[in-house]
Amino acid sequence: MTGPAALPHAPPPSASVSKILTWSVVDGPGNRFVLFLQGCNFACLTCHNPHTIGRCDHCGTCVPGCPSGALRQVDGKVVHDAAVCINCDACLRTCPINANPMVRQLSVAAVLDLIGQNAAFLTGVTVSGGEATTQLGFVAALFAAIKATPALRHLTCFIDSNGHLGSKGWASVLPVTDGVMADVKAFDPERHRRLTGRDNALSLASARLLAAAGKLHELRFLLIPGETDQPDELASLAAFALELGADPAIRLNAFQHHGVRGVATAWPRMERDGVERAAAALRAAGLRRVSMPSVWLP
């Protein structure tokens, strides 16, 4: 699996959206409206949502295998009819580039309308992915529109990001962003490249920038047995987090198999005791706000 070339930012005010949730308790504080944007600039071996990585190039490979006839090719474009779709996801399995023909194109106005319909139930809005910042223009326009709408401006606006974004990019969106949940996939540059297909310099710089701006809601770190659960990685994580100051919130996540494709399906799962040991090590280093998965699988 190789990462796609740099993805063009979708011109605002529309975005490629793979999924919308009106109830999420795990994407920031309170209940959040979550917009999952399609496309990612990383190609993580451990990705549990690989079908969110690619952008459809309308090759049509998925069309013949669609059992309900929801997919058709019209004027060289793959067209999806949601009314006919039976959500069997056969297309996701046949797609050669980890894309999703069911993705919708939505304008800022359309998303604002959906948020407005659900506003009474919401604490805020989180844009996730894929990688949310690959459609940064849309995110900035959406958040600015939320802040400019009297009935919505109490909603907090969060981004969930792998941090692969430069300072100019952040500057364009932070004035209208209340918090960012930023991933660091690995601290060893070589390991990071091997796991994600990309260098980690930008991600580390992003975490520093966000912490300095007071917008780092949470630093997220995926524990993978034999990789990121190693002492050198945990020591780097502790040192990095302490250097950020203000005792940042750190969420440890545990690698699991569900949804994963490719070589990582043969890797061991991260077990609970290993996560607890890592958390203990971070706490011993002086970090107080370390959290772990709230639910463990049998």
């Binding site: 959040r32 009474a120 996540n253 709230s294 699988l297």
Partner: protein
Amino acid sequence: MSEIESQLRKIAQDPTLSFRQKEHALAVAAENLLSYPLIDAETRQALDDRIICDMFEGHAPYKPRYVLPDYAVVLEHGSAYLELPKPQTLDEAINTLQIAYHHVPSVTGMPVFIGHLDALLLPFCDGVSDDELYRKIKLFWRYIDRVLPDAFLHANIGPTDNRVARAILRVDAELKQIAPNLTFLYDPAISGEAMLRLCTDNIIACSKPHIANHPIHAAVFDAPGYAIVSCYNALPLRGGAASLGRINLRKVAEASRDEADFLDVELPRYARLLARLMRARINHLHEKSGFFEGSFLVEEGWIDKDRFTAMFGIFAMAEAVNHLQDLAGRSGRYGLDPEANALGLRISARLTELVAAEPMAHVWRGFAMLHAQAGLSSDADTTPGIRIPYGSEPDPVSHVRALLPQHAYYLSGVSEILTLDETVRANPEAVFQLAKGALGMGFREFTANVAGNDLVRVTGYMIRLSDVKLYNEGKGSRTNTTGLGAEAAAVTPILKRAPRVVGLESLAGAVA
């Protein structure tokens, strides 16, 4: 040995029943030896076919189904019949209530309502420290659960934010008992958001309290008001409900040719028959049983025989709508499809008209009250009340939005339960926001169970832990997972970006 004798002997000699359960079963069997109140053949047939249902209340109604005494009477005046003086202290007040409960009948043999406890006890709390109050409430709660162990037994608190309500919520979360069930009467203008947050935090701890939308309920009832009892029935205080009957909407739909036939012919037919059945039963209670004549509860003003309503219940709305959708060749399902939901609303509006066309003697205000009924343990292939079928519920926000307009029709209560997966334990603000939004938009009742069960939602997913376990053990496959509707189930919050939703739902509690 006659059939009757063998039936009674089976109860008397059943080693699995306690002596009290035997007493109750023998009493029910004896009552059912009597002939049924006189009903016409058409009503009898509909009852035998269980298209209409009497909730197996018994052949000779001799007590109201739900009794909601005004306990303020005994706390303010004592009771001549029970030889109780007016209580002076908190201990005496609690003791008086504990005695009173044993004299309040209901269909279960135990009281379904034990009072607006904060309003009742606050006048006795001057000079009682918070710690004393907490300890006394804790003993009171233990007594209720051990002596009156019935989940339909219901306490009410609110709408004010006060010391007794707070002590009760603290004790309730700590003890996590089945009894008493608890309702907080929430009024955004009076209760305050801090109290709502306390309630939603308690829901996370113990799936209680139920939160009633006080302004909406209060507008339905006159002085002295109402209470929420049993399985979320809103009924007149100092009265209650004489009887509860119900229509199986699924069976009515199956007897109909199409929607028009359902709304214009079959539903009116069975509504008429249910009204006849309820009249026969209520008339027996009021005219023949002697209940109201011989009751000190009436003499002393705890209850008023004119304040007993009739609950006109319905269930299996979901199956009725889906069947009518099938007849119309439409694929949209109840709870998920706007067209199907609109059909559900047409049914509820029609029911409201039909109930308003059936005057009933002895009944509070002369007409029954519509009720979305929660079901009996024996119900099969039907969904309680107006609920969305287990396993097909959308996420909680979509769930509330789908059913919100239905709540306006069910004046004596909607038994509705939202099941929240246990990841909300780490984010209690989300439950608060959901409750605030639902109540703010006019949801009549907010009830949520937080799953400690097999069901877990990580971000976009509802998954069963046992399914994932099978998967991890290599006993399942991607195909199995797809069969569950999930493309790729995320399994811990780490796997949070999985944007494919599945609504797998474990069985929610079905109660009468």
